[in-house]
Amino acid sequence: MKLDKYLDRSLWVFHLNTGSCNGCDIEIVALLTPRYDVERFGIKLVGSPKHADILLVTGPVNRKMLPRLKLIYEQTPDPKAVIVVGTCGTSGGVFYDSYNIVGPVDKHIPVDVYVPGCPIRPEAIINGVLKAWLKLERLRGSSGAEIEKKIEEVSA
């Protein structure tokens, strides 16, 4: 999703709730508040998976959301990374073995980063996005040295 290697842009994230209790979703919203303000890194929530580099999934995946989860995953352009946020998406959490749950998420789509917690702290989500960014850099062909250089640039 870029015009040119010299016109690259930051990571854009699409958030999908597959039946979460909204605890994790509130923490994701907290990321956008002045306290955490992830937009200063260019990380932005977008309204369509077609604009996204990262799929941020919350919730344990209930039956109704399963086909939507699969479709949205397919509609996200490559290269992409999937982050599962919260204990429910990671393992089912308190909904484990429920009659209406068909998750966890990695049973149906490939997951790159797990951020467990009930709910997770916003700092943990930022760390998860950083991990996903490293994976995307590898997919785009960057070498280990180049990635380390970029991390230094971000940390500076």
Partner: protein
């Protein structure tokens, strides 16, 4: 150099300049298009519209008829429209019957007065 410049009191016009501008803009458009994302997977869901994760329905099912925009209007005047719709059966015998009935009433009124 004469390149067919047409001068008027308020400016000038020249076909060759128009052709040159069109070519330059066209090259720019093609360059920009060439820089677009070419790695998407053809014939997959990546080319389908995003409808909040819902599957795309057929064109017939997603068609919004012109009458739909009057929904609120007809709903508000339901008591007026429903008897009218019932009268419009589409059967010519019914319409002929209405004409005969109304004419009979008019003749009676005219005859009595």
């Amino acid at each position: 150099m004469n390149i067919g410049l047409l001068e008027t009191g308020s400016g000038y016009w020249n076909a060759i300049i128009w052709v040159l501008v069109t070519i330059i803009v066209g090259i720019g458009v093609l360059w920009l298009r060439n820089k677009g994302e070419g790695s998407y997977k053809k014939d997959t869901n990546q080319t389908k519209p995003f409808l909040s994760g819902n599957p795309e329905v057929s064109k017939e099912d997603s068609h919004v008829g012109a009458s739909h925009i009057y929904w609120g209007f007809t709903e508000a005047l339901k008591n007026y429209y429903e008897p009218l719709i019932k009268l419009h059966t589409g059967d010519i015998n019914d319409y002929s019957g209405w004409i005969v009935l109304v004419m009979a009433i008019i003749f009676i009124i005219v005859g009595v007065s």
